[in-house]
């Protein structure tokens, strides 16, 4: 039981991190129709910037500076490239961000090399805060949780309660109307893109040292974030939140389940040892953990193509 609480806790921390990225991605998508393929690359940039800053000043300044830098880069990318490529249609936009993701990965290799960089948890937070049933809970994980939750309360407050938030909400569904009311819609797009990528950068700052900071980190997380927003339903923040936690928990707890489908079916008298793909069924759930999010996505696509809370088809 104590073990389950531990895995659940880790799943929630990971899920909140996923939501930090998927919220920005889904906001950008529903506003501009741009699926930002390079979103996870901004996460990676956040981690690398924070590492570079931490070598000079320690961890804390990086927590603010790195996301702001990443957000500025994101805003510049929107202003000078995405807006240009927008004329050529959505496929070109998607391909541009795809190329950008590749380029950022190569640039990171160019500057910091192929090997992981020693970006570590700050010593102030590197201790076990409390114990439940012999499992120790690290203070840094609690800190990660606190940062993400603060971020969401703040984000929710901005979108739901402020004037700029209302304009953003209006621009989501009726960009032309907002434009005729005298608001600078392209600038709102640029700000949202900057904020979304900045949020991904923040996720990188707090996630980079909890996991590993290396050039492959964007690719590893990028597709999971896509899965999250498909499962949650495109354009839905609440959907993205539920899907993030769900996938975070699925991925971390699956590692702890030590039975296979063959075992499960054997208890009800079905023998799966000689049916097609028997190799797959005989694997323990813990071994197939990496493919579970994708299987979950396929299931959602078959049963509910618009996602858990999605309201529109494309």
């Amino acid at each position: 039981m104590e073990g389950w609480i531990f895995f659940l806790f880790n799943g929630i921390v990971y899920g909140l991190l996923l939501f930090m990225m998927s919220s920005g991605l889904t906001l950008i998508f529903s506003m501009m129709g741009v699926l930002n393929f390079a979103h996870a690359s901004f996460y990676m940039l956040g981690a690398y910037f924070a590492y570079q800053i931490s070598t000079i000043t320690g961890f804390w300044p990086g927590l603010i500076v790195a996301p702001v830098l990443v957000g500025c880069i994101g805003a510049l990318v929107e202003r000078y490239f995405l807006r240009t490529v927008h004329r050529h249609g959505h496929v070109a936009e998607l391909l541009f961000t795809f190329g950008l993701a590749m380029l950022i990965e190569e640039a990171v290799v160019l500057i910091w090399g192929r090997n992981p960089v020693p970006y570590t948890v700050p010593p102030d937070l590197d201790f076990a805060l409390f114990q439940i049933g012999g499992m120790s809970y690290s203070a840094y994980k609690i800190f990660m949780m606190a940062v993400s939750i603060t971020m969401f309360v703040f984000l929710y407050g901005v979108i739901a309660r402020t004037r700029i938030g209302q304009i953003i909400q209006a621009a989501l569904t009726h960009p032309e109307t907002v434009g005729t009311l005298g608001h600078n819609v392209p600038r709102i797009f640029m700000l949202v893109f900057g904020a979304g990528t900045g949020l991904a950068g923040l996720a990188g700052v707090i996630g980079g040292n909890a996991f590993v900071t290396e050039p492959g980190m964007a690719r590893a997380l990028g597709t999971i974030v896509f899965v999250v927003i498909i499962v949650g339903g495109l354009g839905s923040l609440t959907g993205a939140f539920i899907a993030s936690l769900l996938i975070g928990v699925i991925q971390t707890t699956a590692v702890a389940i030590d039975v296979s489908l063959t075992d499960i079916f054997a208890t009800v008298g079905l023998d799966l040892r000689n049916v097609p793909l028997h190799e797959l069924w005989s694997k323990r759930i813990s071994d197939v953990a990496p493919i579970l999010p994708y299987l979950f996505m396929v299931l959602i696509l078959v049963l509910r193509p618009r996602g858990l809370l999605g309201t529109r088809d494309s």
Binding site: G33, L94, Y294
Partner: protein, 420 residues
């Protein structure tokens, strides 16, 4: 192409076959044959990809799934041939791999072609990751780290091809390339091919005409999987080994870039793209570690400034050539080329120097670029590189204006000709 000439396509095909038959006699080194074989595989793969992107408007990030699974099936079949369990000549293996590509295309296409546009692209990526992650788990089928290997010199002999020498493999690949390309071209001429174009341009109107856009997308998707499977089988025959990399995102990205760089708007665009991309990656990777970076920059430049690819750029110049107005463009092009070269030289120095410094294996800062030795941590290369970069960028803005003026002039002449 001159309209009304019905024999021109046939003559083109005949000429292609003659050239393909002569090529290994002209370039008979091992290196040349290896390159030609890879080109052939790339061409079939890129053409199959363009059935989705160019003809049906479906942007897939997971086309290597059908390529790779076709290749794995072909190698498993090859091993069955070697063991005497399957009486099939090796040159016919692509049929087996193609059928596997078709089967997987039917299963995955059934789910993914319900949607189009951006959602389809994301789903294709999800499937690609699903298969790539499965390859780590199903070690029996994918062979784990070592992959699956086989011996192509086995089974019944067809057309006197022992399949030992590279040249035999070349002929098999060339034959399959011609057959596949012809079939894919003919599909574009069928009602299905035409409806695919219509679905790409306006699915709603297709639905009003009485066709189901979803069915059209599904059929094109499955057929494209078949040809990708053929390409994968040719890969398996050529290398006699296949690893899980072949279903991975890198192969999917490669074929996407091939097709897009070549241009998706013309049937032969991806062929051009496969040639350019394969040649560039082979040449660049021989000289520099940063070759992926250069390819990425090239790809982004195509996306930003030439969305119809290289074939699109060529096609724009066709009427200019025919009106013999090329001389009006060339001076501006020459200037642009010089400034672009300056920019490129600066960028190369900066990129190579920083790459050199970031590699853990670099013991000294001394490096060699195009025969010139210098210290990557000194100020000289950076001053030169950044200087050339800035100068090139400044001048390029100016020369691009000139190219614009030259084009306005040519367009004026072209429309003037049409009016008289």
């Amino acid at each position: 192409m001159i309209p009304g000439n019905r024999f021109l396509p046939l003559m083109l095909v005949a000429a292609t076959i003659v050239i393909l038959a002569l090529l290994p006699h002209l370039f008979n080194s091992r290196y040349a044959l290896t390159l030609l074989n890879q080109l052939g595989i790339g061409i079939v793969f890129a053409l199959s990809y363009n059935m989705l992107l160019g003809q049906s408007g479906l942007l897939s990030f997971g086309h290597a799934v059908y390529f790779g699974l076709g290749g794995f099936t072909a190698l498993h079949a090859l091993n069955a041939i070697t063991d005497g369990d399957l009486p099939l000549p090796v040159p016919l293996l692509p049929i087996v791999g193609g059928l596997m590509g078709l089967a997987v295309g039917i299963i995955l296409g059934w789910v993914s072609t319900r949607r189009s546009g951006t959602i389809f692209a994301m789903i294709s990526l999800g499937f690609a990751e699903l298969v790539a992650a499965s390859s780590n788990i199903m070690r029996g089928y994918f062979g784990g780290e070592e992959g699956i290997s086989g011996d192509r010199m086995s089974g019944p002999v067809l057309f006197n091809l022992s399949m030992g020498p590279q040249r035999d493999v070349y002929y098999v690949i060339a034959a399959w390339m011609v057959i596949s390309a012809l079939l894919m071209y003919l599909i574009t001429q069928t009602p299905l091919g035409r409806m695919a174009n219509a679905v790409r341009d306006n699915p709603l109107r297709v639905a009003f005409v009485g066709y189901n856009p979803q069915t059209v997308r599904f059929l094109m998707f499955a057929i494209s999987g078949f040809f990708a499977g053929i390409a994968g089988s040719l890969f398996a025959i050529n290398f006699e080994i296949i690893t899980a990399q072949a279903v991975g995102i890198e192969y999917s990205a490669n074929v996407l870039m091939m097709a897009y760089i070549g241009g998706t708007g013309y049937f032969l665009g991806p062929v051009l793209g496969a040639i350019i991309y394969t040649a560039l990656s082979i040449v660049l990777s021989a000289y520099t570690e940063a070759w992926m970076f250069y390819l990425g920059v090239f790809f982004i430049i195509v996306v930003l400034y030439a969305p119809n690819g290289v074939s699109g750029v060529l096609a724009v110049h066709e009427p200019v050539l025919r009106a013999r107005l090329m001389h009006r463009l060339l001076p501006a092009y020459g200037l642009a080329l010089v400034t672009a070269a300056t920019l490129l030289a600066g960028a190369v120095v900066v990129i190579e120097s920083s790459y050199h410094l970031s590699q853990p294996g670099a013991l000294t800062a001394t490096m060699n670029l195009a025969g010139i030795e210098f210290d990557a941590d000194g100020w000289r290369p950076w001053a030169f590189g950044l200087g050339a970069l800035a100068l090139g960028a400044l001048l390029l803005r100016e020369t691009i204006h000139r190219v614009g003026h030259a084009w306005a002039d040519v367009r004026h002449h072209l429309t003037g000709d049409a009016a008289t």
